[in-house]
Each structure stands twice: as C-alpha cells, then as structure tokens.
C-alpha cells in the first residue's frame, strides 16, 4: 500500500533546514480561507494534535496531521508535500525562508 503522506526531495531539504533552525516540527494540513489548504509547518508542541486529528504518517521524521472530517471530505487522498518559491501568508515556518509548502494529491 502506498504511504498516505510523502515529501519531495526539495521539501525534505527545506524541512531539514527548518529543523536545524527551530528544532522538532509538526505538520497540520489546513483548510478554509486565504491560505487554507496549505500544509502548516509548526514547532512541535505549538499546536498539540486534538481528538479530531488523524496522524497520516511522517515526512522525514516530522509527523503529519489532518482533521479527520476534512480527510473524509477530501476523499482520503494520498498527500505529497512539495515546496514552491515565495513566502505564503501564514504562521507556517517556511515563510521565514521565502518559500511555501504545498500539498499535492496525485
């Protein structure tokens, strides 16, 4: 069975840079307004997963969570975390290095 979540080499490279700068990390898949539907990369412990979150897997050694209802509504896709140039407008850490993570669902 394919892994529920993976990352491209470029995304893994940014993740390791952010880990070096900020310590252990966590991903939460977002939804809704503005920069919704982006994967948010936060410091571990910044937003402890709640009872409604599903742990889909790890990218590198970073756990990836999504809201269970959202996961169902999206049809349980496979997620590939990639990176694109330019900072997005969010609390996600990669904005500090002028890139933004994106979620592909092949």
């Amino acid at each position: 069975m394919a892994q529920a979540v993976t990352a491209t080499p470029a995304a893994l490279e940014v993740i390791s840079r952010l880990e070096a700068a900020h310590g252990p990390l966590v991903f939460h898949q977002s939804g809704g307004c503005c920069d919704g539907t982006s994967p948010m990369c936060l410091r571990e412990g910044e937003l402890p997963p709640g009872p409604g979150d599903v742990h889909l897997g790890d990218v590198g050694d970073v756990p990836f969570y999504i809201d269970a209802d959202q996961y169902e509504r999206w049809g349980r896709p496979e997620f590939v975390i990639d990176v694109a140039p330019g900072a997005a407008d969010s609390f996600s850490l990669e904005g500090t290095v002028q890139v933004h993570f994106v979620t592909h669902t092949p």
Binding site: H28, Q29, S30, G31, G32, C33, C34, D35, G36, T37, S38, M40, L42, E46, L47, P48, G50, D67, D69, Q70, R73, W74, G75, P77, A84, P85, G86, A87, A88, D89, S90, F91, S92, L93, E94, G95, T96, H100, V102, H104, T105
Partner: protein
C-alpha cells in the same frame, strides 16, 4: 499618489524602522513586479508596538464616548477625502478591480468608522433591580490593548472592521497586516496618523510565523482577532486559551448559493438580479471568505438559467486592476494562482465538466507577468473536492437539486457555515431555507452586501464570533458590575 521606496512600521504615531533593519519587496499582482519595500520585522518590533499601545491605553480609555466618536468620525472623513487614492492603492497592491474599491471597499470602510462612532455614543449600561434596596449597575470598560491580524483579501475593509470597534470601545490596537498586502494599510496610516492619538493604532509588518505568533501569543494583549485559515485559527484560539484571553476567528467557507425554479418565472429585473447573484462568485476574483462558490440550481431551470449565467460570465472583462472597465483583476499571489490551477486540475480529474474558463488568460504585454485566472465554472456533484474545499479564486462549482429538501441537504453538507444565498419569489420558502441553513449569514434575494449593522460571522468550522455590528462593542469590552446595597441593615450571618 506619493510612493516611497520603503515603508517602516507605524508605532506610537511615528514611522519606526524595524529593529532588523530588513525590508522585503512588495509586488503588485497586476504585473508581478515589485513597487516598494516594506519592513520585515521581528518579535522585538511587536514589543515596541505593545509598549506604545500600553503607554496610550489609559488616556484613550478614559476619553469620553463623544471624544472617541469625534476621532472615529474624523478618520472616516479623512478616508473619504482620500477615497480615490486609497482605492487605487488597494487595487494596485491586492489586484482587485479599482471599480470595486471605489464603489465598495473604501466607502464601506468610511461607513464602518461612522457606524462605530455613532454606536459608541449610543452605548449604555444596564441596571438590574435585584430588590428594592439592591441594584446591579453594569458598565462597559475597555479591554486595554488588543492584537488584530488582517487578511489579504480586503486589506483596508477588514482593517476597518477590526480597528473601528476596538477603538470605539476605548482600546488600543497592534495590527499585523497580511504579508502579501502590507502597504495599503500604511497609506491609510499616512492619512489618519495625525488624527488618531499616538499609540492608539500601531501597525507592524513581517512574517506571520514570527511576528504574527509574537503578537497572538503575547501576554500583553487582552484579546486577539484573526481572519484566515483553520489551522492558524486553532493556533490563535490555543494561544488565547494559554493566556486566558478572548479571541474571535473568521475562517472561511464554501458558501452555497441556491436558485429555486420560480427565479425563472418571469424574465424581469429579479431574474437579472439572480443571474448577477450567481456571477458574484467572481467578485474580488473569488478571494472572499463568503464567495458563493457552490451554486445549487433547481433541475427544471438548470439549462435555461445556466445559459443566461454563462452569457453574463463571458461578458466579464478581465484586465489591469486599475483600468476602471476591468471587472476581474489578478489573484493576490503566485501561491493563490497555483492553488487555483491545482484545484481546477483536481476537478477535471474527478470528473467535473468545465463549462467556461479553466485556464490562465493571456492578456498581453506587461500583464503576462501578473497573476490572472479566467472566471471558471465546474459542473459536478457535492461530494467532489471542488465542492468541499475553499479554492479562494474565481471558480464556481455548480450542481442541481430536485426539491427543497435536497437543496437544504446539499447546502448543509459542508464543514463550513459562513455565508449562503437563497433566491426565490416565494417569501415563505425563503424564510424556511434561511432559518434551516447552518450559516451565520444567509443573503436572501441578494448576495455580497456588507452593510455595517448586519452581523457577520460563522457557524461550524467557519470560526467563532461576529463582526460588523454594534455587538462588537461588547466583544471589545469588559463588563463591570457594581453591586450596590442601599439597605442599612446587616445580613445577619455573623
């Protein structure tokens, strides 16, 4: 319009360089070209702004309601006097058509300050008579210093929605604009900077992960207000929980716009209005939390009604946002543009039919560097991802329904509940539907109207709290109860 090379933070009534001494290029979505630089601040700059706000809060909080109202009215007048300049700034930085900013964004911002000036003066406490010798007097007192995080889609109007009630209730604010749109709010500060007392309004620009977090999690704010996406909404609420302060969050939606068969009962002004009501998904290039992004059309009128709507969509003029004839401009950033393209691809893959659009247009010359996307309509069904996820672009997902019960079921089959539209000539049905839809705002035979004095906010995952109504004064106030006994006699316990 005056355009400087670089813009500092606005703190304590002064223009202050960021402690980092760093600036970032600010682009216009119209061409993708940079046009100025804006402060790239650090958490230390948030602390400076909080210092200024705390220094100002006692004097501002003790001003009489009439004095505070006079300041808000003067802000409204100054914005009105500079309406065209601010409309152009807003359009150029965000990519939205200038005809929208001239006729909607800026006039609404003006009215918002006037509304809260009046509301603050009309505010009164309540007295509860506990018994004939015991009375509870309730007073509103300012919270003190609040933090406010503004989205990129209506930078000036959303700032007005947040600043006006906060200041009217006697608070000072530290504002963090959205990273793609840091500049138009600074043009607003140039216009109103001498009117608002120093330290009452402070604006700090920089990355959300650093200064947004430094503001939202700060122990020196008494409330945090946020508009944006769901994970940051959860973050904001968890920071507020850790500091035991209130928060308001507005987190978007996937709003249904429902057209019953009697819409087509006559070919008249009402039908014309309903057609425009569907096409309003392209307003502000779809970058609206309440974008009517799901159209539900009764199956008996689908072919005829949709044909009329597609004709109207084909007539949308796309171009440079500053061209007064332009009806749809550019998306705010390449990130948004990529997201829209990604969703249209997902829609095609899951079997949605592209009725119109679905591509990036070629507008020629300098505009080819801009972030444009054609107004697009996808036909499918409500279980598709393009019906469930907020695209935040000019992409409409359309489907049909058999009867009122099915329309309601589809309308409510979403994680969100911010806006909805109901179009019918049957007043009873409009009322039934309006009450049954789980959304904070149900436009009935209209859409995308945002007058002050009409509460706005979400059900379900669309956030917690309301804006745009005088009830906001309570959200930005403490309630003080003086419980007074006029009875000379002791209780008798001891």
């Amino acid at each position: 319009m005056e355009l400087k090379e670089r813009y500092d933070n606005f703190i304590g009534g002064e223009w202050i360089a960021p402690t980092t001494r760093e600036y970032r290029e600010n682009l216009t979505p119209a061409t993708g070209q940079p046009f100025c630089e804006v402060a790239h601040s650090a958490p230390a700059d948030i602390e400076l702004a909080l210092d200024a706000a705390h220094a100002a809060k006692d004097a501002w909080g003790s001003r009489s309601p009439a004095e505070r109202a006079a300041v808000l009215d003067a802000v409204a007048d100054a914005i009105e006097e500079n309406l065209e300049m601010l409309a152009v700034a807003e359009s150029y930085e965000n990519g939205k058509p200038v005809r929208e900013t001239i006729n909607a964004d800026i006039p609404l911002a003006v009215d918002h300050f006037r509304y809260f000036a009046d509301a603050a003066r009309a505010e009164e406490g309540r007295i509860s008579e506990i018994d004939d010798q015991t009375y509870a007097y309730h007073f509103h007192e300012p919270l003190g210093v609040v933090g406010q995080i503004i989205p990129f889609n209506f930078p000036l109007l959303m700032a007005a929605w947040k600043i006006a009630p906060a200041l009217a209730a006697g608070n000072c604010t530290v504002l963090k604009p959205a990273s793609p749109t840091p500049w138009s709010i600074l043009k607003l500060a140039e216009v109103v900077g001498d009117i608002v007392p120093a330290g009452v309004l402070n604006i700090v620009n920089g990355p959300g992960a650093e200064i947004g977090r430094a503001l939202a999690s700060n122990k020196r704010i008494a409330k945090i207000a946020f508009t944006g996406e769901t994970v940051t909404g959860r973050l904001i609420m968890s920071y507020a929980a850790q500091n035991l302060i209130p928060s308001t969050t507005e987190l978007g939606g996937k709003s249904p716009n429902i057209f019953f068969e009697d819409v087509m009962a006559a070919d008249d002004a009402f039908l014309d209005k309903a057609i425009e009501g569907l096409v309003l998904y392209a307003f502000n290039k779809g970058e609206v939390c309440t974008c009517p992004s799901r159209a539900l059309i009764h199956e008996s009128i689908y072919d005829g009604f949709m044909a009329r709507c597609l004709e109207r969509i084909r007539a949308i003029k796309q171009g440079h946002p500053l061209d007064i004839a332009t009806m749809i401009g550019a998306q705010v950033s390449t990130a948004q543009l990529e997201k829209i393209e990604g969703y249209v691809k997902i829609g095609r893959e899951e079997g949605a039919e592209v009725l119109i659009g679905g591509e990036r247009p070629s507008l020629g010359a300098e505009l080819d560097g801009g972030y444009y996307y054609e107004p697009t309509v996808l036909k499918g069904h409500n279980k598709m991802r393009v019906f469930q996820e907020e695209i935040f672009g000019p992409v409409l997902a359309v489907t049909t329904f058999r009867d009122e019960a099915e329309a309601l079921e589809i309308a409510n089959d979403t994680l969100y509940g911010l806006g909805a539209g109901v179009w019918t000539r049957d007043g009873s049905r409009a009322f039934r539907m309006g009450r049954a839809i789980k959304a904070g705002r149900v436009w009935t035979n209209c859409y995308h109207q945002y007058p002050a004095h009409a509460a706005f906010g979400g059900y379900k995952s669309s956030g917690v709290g309301r804006e745009n109504h005088r009830m906001m004064l309570e959200h930005y106030s403490q309630t003080k109860c003086l419980l007074v006994s006029y009875d000379p006699n002791p209780l008798g316990f001891f």
